[in-house]
Symmetry: C2
Subunit: 408 residues, 2 copies
């Protein structure tokens, strides 16, 4: 069993980027904690004799080549193609330990288990760690995988700036990635971020697809005024427009069974005794279909604009990123399910409302599949995010079975 | 006329701490811009032969002693007592040029004018610049004057921290101030922060008193969750509680003819795809009487708590500062009015909804009075805050007349 390896790796990662006050993780890409995670990744790969490749965006793959193949380049152009597993190492701000790292750690542990079992891959098998999956620094989710597959252009991406004004172009070299050349399939293991597997009493599930989702920046402009001396009726207060929009988004999503969240806000000047001049806030919206998402977003914007008229403010809405509905490759899903579908396990199939690199690869023509590990609370993107050790080890076993089926 | 002196001083101050993007001022105490203003104050005093005294909190007074008196200490213990004028140099974040500096510049210009007219003071006359009047750095309005009169304790104040965690105790020495010993009266000139003088078509007015006001910190605690995968009904989102409270505060104040503003907010973790765990926001509330303020604040808190129950969040409200109603000294007001009340000018009497150091001094037993200069737009605490030059010069003349009456 891969248990000791899994637990050792998990223990090594636990302190990296953890806030002592909240217990949550701050693992924004290319800042100190994430740089430490990258070093850890290289060590874990080297300890296993895997060869690490890094693309100009900082995406990493640790390759396990087929027996007798010394150069990866050759292996990856083999007619059968390479198989990729892995996930990401970065976190949202004050996030949990599992979202991302569980997939990377489980991938290494799955390789250990496959070796214990004497599996010899006939195709190259790689463990990937994609960068900036959460968009916690440059505000573009799945930025690393988007750049790797060419779904995002480097010319645009290099101008992105973080909250301190640092340009992405000054952080990584950029250029063109050949990291995924010859990759035929991707299997990503991830902690579940809802209670689907709890409801179905299963340790592991398979993903059917990803809800469409988008990020929309709301810029509300009003007029700064003295909070004491300016009569209420003489104000143009963008905070009011924002507040009504946040409530409207929640109500709209609740009524429609979708998701809409305002979790980030910046206020200028953000002083106690000043009516703000500007409020910028970000809407995260997701829905079960592309049409449902468009309807949801339009309804929220309409209510924001109506309220702005009453407040004497103006609202500008900018779609920062929109991802359409993703259906994971159905034959691949059946292939993976077949390796897990013994009488030992019941394997539910379920969608996810979260974006994942697997969705980006699927859309770019690399058939992809996801495995989910049960989350007992359903809580994610939070210090309280968790998964039980037994479930995590069941995930490692399922991943090893699936990968064995694909490369064995 | 003091016009050239006034305009030169105004020009000297114009660039200090001004944001090139917004045109507003960032003059938080003991940071670079405000340190430059303090140096300017000392130069303006020295150029006039005034002697500068600074207390352990950084409050400044430039003294003009009576003829033949060389040491201020002796002058200030004279039985008749000293007269103080002045205001403050700090600004709110992204504030205007006039709120504060107009009073200091006008005080120096008034002294120039008094000298031109041959006035020889029989009592010491001081120009004050109180620190942290706006509370823009340590979140306590009128902190300098409160400390100077002993209305705030240094033991508490030195533990205050700014947004970067810097303690006030590490910024200034602290201790006990003797700066106001022997001061008998204070006259503060200030730009009006509403449209009272516009409505009454007058360049200058006299203050009757200050509305009671307070700052209340709302700490709303919820549960961080993934913005995509957590069903709306499973959330405990503090942003919703906040949003409803901000709207309720506005409505409550509007209905009652009072003022309530949420202009400052801090969100944790403030990530686009995370339901926040905590929202902290500050309510600035003001009303025409102590009872009306208490009613307003209670009504807002009640609605916040009701909404928190529905959201599954908790709200904690902390009164960070509450100032009761202030009535300026009535005999002093009549004395000041008498010096201005020629047929040349109509001098309206009006209250202010803004806190001022004059209110702190009045409450501490130093009879105080305020002069207001017309604000054509009524806008304050904003880059758009303005006053016409002719009105400013009328203010200088009124202040010179008032001070001549008190010390001549």
């Amino acid at each position: 069993m891969a248990q000791p390896d899994f637990e050792r790796m998990w223990r090594d990662l636990a302190p990296i980027g953890r806030s002592t006050s909240s217990g949550g993780y701050f693992r924004q890409p290319w800042l100190s904690a994430e740089l430490e995670l990258r070093a850890w990744f290289r060590e874990a790969a080297t300890a296993r004799g895997l060869e690490v490749e890094e693309d100009p965006f900082g995406n990493l793959v640790a390759w396990w080549p087929p027996q007798g193949v010394s150069r990866l380049a050759g292996a990856r152009t083999s007619t059968s193609g390479a198989v990729l597993t892995g996930s990401h190492l970065d976190s949202v701000l004050d996030g949990g330990a599992f979202d991302g790292p569980l997939g990377v750690v489980s991938s290494f542990a799955a390789i250990d288990l496959m070796r214990e079992r004497g599996v010899a891959p006939t195709r190259p098998l790689g463990v990937a760690a994609f960068v900036e999956e959460e968009g916690s620094r440059f505000d573009r989710a799945c930025l690393g995988s988007r750049l790797a597959v060419g779904a995002a252009s480097w010319a645009d991406a290099r101008e992105l700036t973080d909250r301190d004004g640092v340009r992405l172009g000054d952080v990584v070299e950029g250029g063109t990635s050949t990291l995924l050349d010859g990759v035929d399939a991707y299997v990503e293991l991830h902690v579940e971020q809802g209670r689907g597997l709890v409801d179905q009493d299963a340790a592991v599930g398979i993903g059917s697809g990803i809800w469409p989702h988008g990020r929309f920046r709301y810029d509300v402009a009003g007029r700064a005024d003295h909070a004491g001396t300016t009569r209420m009726e003489d104000r143009a207060d963008p905070m009011l427009t924002y507040a009504m929009t946040a409530l409207a988004a929640n109500k709209q999503a609740r009524l429609a069974g979708q998701r809409a969240t305002f979790g980030r806000i910046e206020v200028r000047p953000n002083g106690t005794n000043a009516v703000p001049s500007h409020v910028t806030a970000w809407l995260d919206a997701r829905a079960e279909s592309d049409q449902a998402l468009a309807d949801l977003v339009a309804a929220i914007e309409r209510q924001a604009v109506d309220r702005a008229d009453r407040d004497g403010t103006t609202v500008t809405v900018t779609a920062e990123s929109v991802s359409g509905q993703v259906a994971f490759d159905v034959p691949l899903r059946h292939e993976v399910a077949a390796t897990l579908g013994s009488e030992r396990r019941r394997v539910p199939v379920l969608p996810t409302q979260a974006g994942h690199d697997a969705g980006i690869l699927q859309e770019a023509g690399i058939r992809s599949s996801m495995l989910f590990v049960r989350n007992p609370t359903g809580i994610s993107h939070s210090p309280e995010e968790t998964a039980g050790t037994a479930d995590c080890l069941a995930g490692v076993e399922a991943l090893a079975d699936a990968l064995t089926g694909l490369v064995g």
